[in-house]
């Protein structure tokens, strides 16, 4: 009898070392029943993508507070697609101005969760994204 678990990669791309939020989300999602792989800080987009593929995750959550999201988030999306893993859903969080959200969504980031987001909101997103796939 199949027992599928949803696997999520939480990663910190670029040089930003503020991991309080990423660690909180990893733990909170674990408490909601997800299997969460956490890569730690200072991950290049290439490393994130290879990790996502090997771990066969359903979602990749990128946390970034240093302002480099417009460059690094789309890079992850593009590399996933190029590696034949475009079905992995990418979402992001951290310090991301609202004005940048349309651009990021256009480049394939499914959702952006800014400061003040609750665990509940993220879980709702994950459930609906999973149900529609």
């Amino acid at each position: 009898m199949a027992v599928k678990k949803t696997r999520i990669l939480i990663a910190k791309p670029g040089l930003d070392g503020h991991d309080r939020g990423a660690k909180f989300i990893a733990r909170a999602l674990r408490d909601e029943g997800y299997e969460v792989i956490y890569t730690g800080i200072r991950q290049t987009p290439e490393a994130i993508v290879q990790t996502a593929i090997q771990e066969d995750v359903d979602f990749v959550g990128l946390s970034l507070l240093s302002g480099a999201h417009n460059e690094l988030f789309p890079r992850v999306v593009d590399l996933l697609a190029a590696s034949g893993a475009g079905d992995i859903v990418v979402f992001g969080g951290g310090i991301i101005p609202e004005q940048d959200i349309p651009f990021l969504k256009d480049r394939g980031v499914a959702a952006i969760f800014g400061p003040g987001t609750t665990t509940k909101q993220i879980v709702e997103f994950l459930e609906s994204a999973r149900d529609s796939s």
């Binding site: 678990k5 029943g33 290879q50 990790t51």
Partner: protein
């Protein structure tokens, strides 16, 4: 895509997907494992166990580097416990191995125990086969951490690396039978912490019972003539790792020459077959006797002293066998 072909070609996505199918107990998993089975047997399986915090992941990370230098493809399965409350897990071992993330010759997979007691996951054995068939020559299995019950690693590995650290109460743990039995190579990591030498002495002492001839200074250890190396390392400082790898190589050669490797592998296959058999029987019984559905009622009857344990179960089995006879 044809997963079997792709796995054998080393396609990372295919390998990863196949592993997921196995983990998730999907119906196609069995056929996949069987299809890949003929291509297994080429990998050296190294189990890595020891108390939490002893530095297993960091040690594996350093060993990966040395294995790659020898031109070997390396795979790692890192197991972490699932939360008994939520069923979720944080799989954080790979964090310490991330420098290898973009090396095409390294495959790292994190697995949650998903309720399986034994220090690994139920699917680990089959996942090893996939990686073996995909061409990974050294496969590390990093377990949750050793205690009295987490010894399943022995049934999966060619060589078990037991990682201890000073000051973790390992001195006492080391004495407990079973724990010492499972190790092939003993590593005292974080060797610059106080108590390292004492720990080493204690390990030697316990091993002396296992290998009386070796302890007496004669010959090569146990009755098959293989001795258990003890290494002192500091993984974080890259100290003693080369010696460790040498020790692994020598040990591997020794046990191969002494016929012990073959013995272990046969033992492994034996345990695996029994495992599959038990699982299948259980599934079969569950299907026909509907254990899960009936369990509450049985428990209720037992609680009221309305039934007796063995009689109850034997009756179920008898009925099942009657039915099967009736089917024929």
């Amino acid at each position: 895509m044809d997963l079997v072909t792709e796995v054998r070609l080393g396609n990372l996505r295919a390998i990863a997907r196949t592993i997921s199918l196995i983990e998730d107990l999907e119906p196609e998993a069995e056929a996949l494992v069987d299809a890949l089975y003929p291509y297994t047997g080429g990998a050296r399986i190294l189990g890595v166990t020891g108390s939490p915090g002893a530095g297993k992941s960091t040690l594996v990370d350093r060993l990966i580097t040395l294995e790659r230098r020898r031109g070997r493809k390396v795979a790692v399965i890192a197991v972490d416990p699932s939360s008994p409350f939520s069923g979720g897990a944080i799989l954080g071992d790979r964090l310490r191995m991330q420098t290898h993330a973009i090396d095409p010759g390294v495959f790292i997979r994190s697995m949650a125990s998903r309720g399986f007691l034994g220090g690994i996951a139920a699917a680990t054995g089959d996942v090893i086969k996939v990686l073996d068939a995909a061409g990974y020559q050294s496969i590390f299995i990093e377990t949750i951490g050793v205690g009295q019950t987490e010894i399943k690693i022995v049934e999966l590995s060619d060589i078990v690396l037991l990682v201890l650290m000073p000051g973790a109460g390992d001195e006492i743990q080391a004495m407990k039978a079973g724990v010492m039995e499972i190790g092939d190579i003993f590593i005292i990591n974080k060797k610059d912490l106080p108590g390292a030498d004492k720990l080493r002495a204690e390990v030697e002492y316990v091993l002396s019972f296992k290998n009386p001839v070796q302890a007496a200074g004669g010959g090569n250890g146990d009755s098959e003539g293989v001795s258990n190396p003890i290494l002192m390392t500091s993984a974080v400082q890259d100290d003693g790792i080369e010696q460790l790898q040498e020790a692994i190589e020598s040990y591997a050669t020794e046990i191969e020459n002494a016929g012990k490797l073959e013995e272990k592998r046969r033992y492994r296959l034996e345990r695996e077959l029994l495992g599959v058999l038990n699982r299948k029987i259980h599934e079969l019984m569950d299907l026909h006797i509907e254990v899960s559905r009936q369990l509450p009622e049985w428990t209720e009857r037992l609680y009221r002293r309305d039934a007796r344990p063995y009689a109850l179960i034997n009756e179920q089995i008898r009925n099942f066998l009657e039915e099967r006879k009736g089917d024929q």
